[in-house]
């Protein structure tokens, strides 16, 4: 079994179409989609994101990270939400992705989620990363 992230994107056309849609219907369709994945035992996580105008961008191009409101004007596709599913094959991930209740101007980018087997256990940097994760896990457990 492999985990995939379904990344929801929309271009200007998709955003415009979304604004035309009946919000209740959109919510109901998404609810049915999520439920179908839950009842198939494949849904691990999923979240929707609020409007991009509420968000901000941290730009690492300069010497110090720069927090800005934009520049959304230059971003052609907006990232609106995601699902993480665990399935038996890439084809199965494609099958679930193509069932999402989305319309013209919407895209799902599907990416495999890496797991421990992608990284050798003896790699120094992986171990450092894991050390950090362990520390976080301990903090979370103590919280």
């Amino acid at each position: 079994m492999t985990k995939y992230m379904l990344i929801m994107r929309a271009d200007e056309r998709g955003v415009a179409a979304y604004e035309e849609m009946d919000f209740t219907e959109v919510i109901a369709a998404m609810g049915r989609y999520n439920e179908s994945m839950m009842k198939a035992g494949v849904l691990l996580a999923g979240e929707g994101l609020s409007d991009a105008s509420e968000g901000f961008v941290v730009d690492f191009s300069g010497e110090t990270p720069l927090v800005t409101d934009g520049p959304y004007g230059e971003i052609k596709e907006l990232f609106n939400g995601f699902w993480i599913i665990e399935v038996g094959s890439k084809a199965e991930a494609a099958e679930w992705a193509s069932r999402a209740p989305l319309g013209p101007g919407a895209f799902l980018e599907v990416r495999r989620v890496t797991d421990a087997s992608d990284f050798p256990a003896d790699n120094e940097w992986v171990q450092k990363e894991e050390g950090w994760r362990e520390e976080q896990a301990q903090r979370a457990a103590q919280a």
């Binding site: 079994m1 199965e92 421990a116």
Partner: protein, 448 residues
């Protein structure tokens, strides 16, 4: 026109519609037969319980429904490369299978008789449903549940339940099931054929068990899923210490059952237990595939997402408010391990307390043995050895490697090395798993 014939007419129409040219869905029409085969397999994995469930209700016979679904799959593999994949592949497969059923009745000139029988069944079903709908009235969900209960029916042998569940509910092919269990494909096929025959002979109804029988029958279902999980978790035979794919499939099936029976605490408890055990999979083998025991595992490799999902499932089980059953209790133990940064950091007293509750419920000597291990961590090896020695005459442990393996561990910690060595050697002799034997022999030679 009766409701039933109308339903069939719509089905025939949907076959024509979905077969029409130009009605091809995304992803783009795959003409490469290999790609189509992948797509068919993916659709089958997603839809099989719904398809076989709906067909069983339609033809009134589970074995025939499964055969019809397989025939429809074969037809898809032939047609889809040339004509493209239909917009709704699951509906296409169901409709084709139903059409084949109707053709069969026509050929056998039992058409009228059969239609009358279906009408009767549907009426009876509707009346029964009106009386006491035990679950979600959504019929599709009920079909899947019925299928789960049929595949795990007590008239079937354990092997048959496992094979049938993985094939019909899990949507795996016989080849995949065979590979997972390291048995020949023919063996799996025979098990399925024999299972279908047994179900037919016993006249097993396609139903969610009535309330009075539900606890026992659900227990059987969860038992099958747990068996599949543990077979992957600590393979009983063969060269590999784990077959995680098998466990992950069991987990997926447990999630299905828990989603369909959200008010059953043990269904949630089983999901919790599996998630919390699967969280440690990345750390349970080293780079060479050798077993790494809990104490030596690199806990930074544990899957934090799985731990969070397991914890959430245990909370759902608790929220139902009917107390913790054996699976939820085992999940609680697993959670104590998963949240500890190290063996020393583990709350062993809390684990002993959960084992007390578990021992009270199950009375199993294996639980008593595991409790003794927890006691050894909380109160030291001497206290635990007394408990283990009290289990020596237990017939259910007589042939198992577990007792000598735990005894060896405790004796080694007490510095009684010679006695420990003998116990580890005995345990190595008894285990069926090659990797585990290697670990035990290493301990016997003082390298463990």
């Amino acid at each position: 026109m009766s409701h039933e014939t109308e339903e069939r007419r719509i089905d025939e129409e949907s076959v024509r519609r979905s077969g029409a040219p130009g009605e091809v869905s995304a992803p783009a029409p795959a003409v490469d037969p290999a790609l189509v085969a992948e797509r068919v397999a993916a659709v089958w994995r997603i839809e099989s319980p719904r398809i076989v469930g709906a067909l069983t209700r339609f033809v009134g016979d589970f074995a025939q429904a499964e055969d019809l679904a397989q025939e429809a799959l074969a037809e898809a593999l032939e047609q889809w490369p040339a004509e493209g994949v239909p917009r709704n592949p699951g509906a296409w497969l169901t409709a084709v299978a139903k059409r084949r059923a109707i053709d069969g009745w026509r050929r056998r000139e039992r058409y009228e008789e059969r239609v009358a029988a279906i009408a009767h069944d549907l009426e009876a079903e509707r009346a029964a449903e009106a009386e006491a709908p035990p679950y979600d009235p959504d019929r599709i969900d009920d079909d899947v549940l019925r299928l789960v209960f049929v595949a795990c029916h007590p008239v079937l042998s354990r092997e048959a339940r496992v094979a049938l569940t993985l094939r019909v509910v899990g949507g795996l092919t016989s080849e995949e099931v065979a590979r997972m269990f390291l048995v020949p494909v023919a063996t799996v096929q025979q098990r399925v054929v024999r299972a279908k025959k047994t179900l037919a002979e016993a006249g097993v109804a396609f139903e969610v068990p009535p309330r009075a029988e539900l606890p026992e029958r659900l227990d059987a279902v969860l038992g099958v899923l747990y068996l599949i999980f543990t077979e992957g978790h600590a393979a009983s035979g063969g060269e590999d210490w784990m077959r995680p794919e098998l466990s992950r499939e069991a987990l997926r099936l447990a999630r299905i059952v828990a989603a369909l029976l959200p008010r059953e605490p043990e269904a949630q408890g089983l999901v919790a237990l599996m998630e919390l055990a699967a969280a440690r999979f990345p750390a349970r083998t080293d780079a060479e595939g050798n077993a790494v025991l809990l104490a030596d595992q690199d806990r930074s490799r544990w899957d934090l997402g799985a731990i969070a999902r397991g914890r959430a499932a245990l909370e759902r089980a608790d929220a139902i408010g009917r107390g913790r059953g054996p699976y939820a209790l085992q999940a609680a133990i697993a959670l104590e391990h998963d949240r500890a940064a190290s063996v020393e950091d583990t709350d062993w007293a809390a684990i002993v307390a959960v084992y007390d509750a578990l021992a009270e419920l199950s009375g199993s000597p294996v639980v008593a043995l595991n409790r003794a291990v927890a006691v050894s961590m909380a109160d030291g090896p001497a206290a635990a050895l007394e408990l283990v020695d009290a289990l020596a005459g237990e017939p259910r442990l007589a042939l198992s490697h577990l007792l000598p393996s735990v005894r060896g561990e405790l004796l080694a910690r007490l510095g009684r090395d010679e006695e420990a060595r003998a116990e580890f050697e005995l345990a190595a002799e008894r285990t069926q798993n090659a990797r585990e034997r290697a670990v035990l022999l290493a301990k016997a030679s003082g390298r463990g």
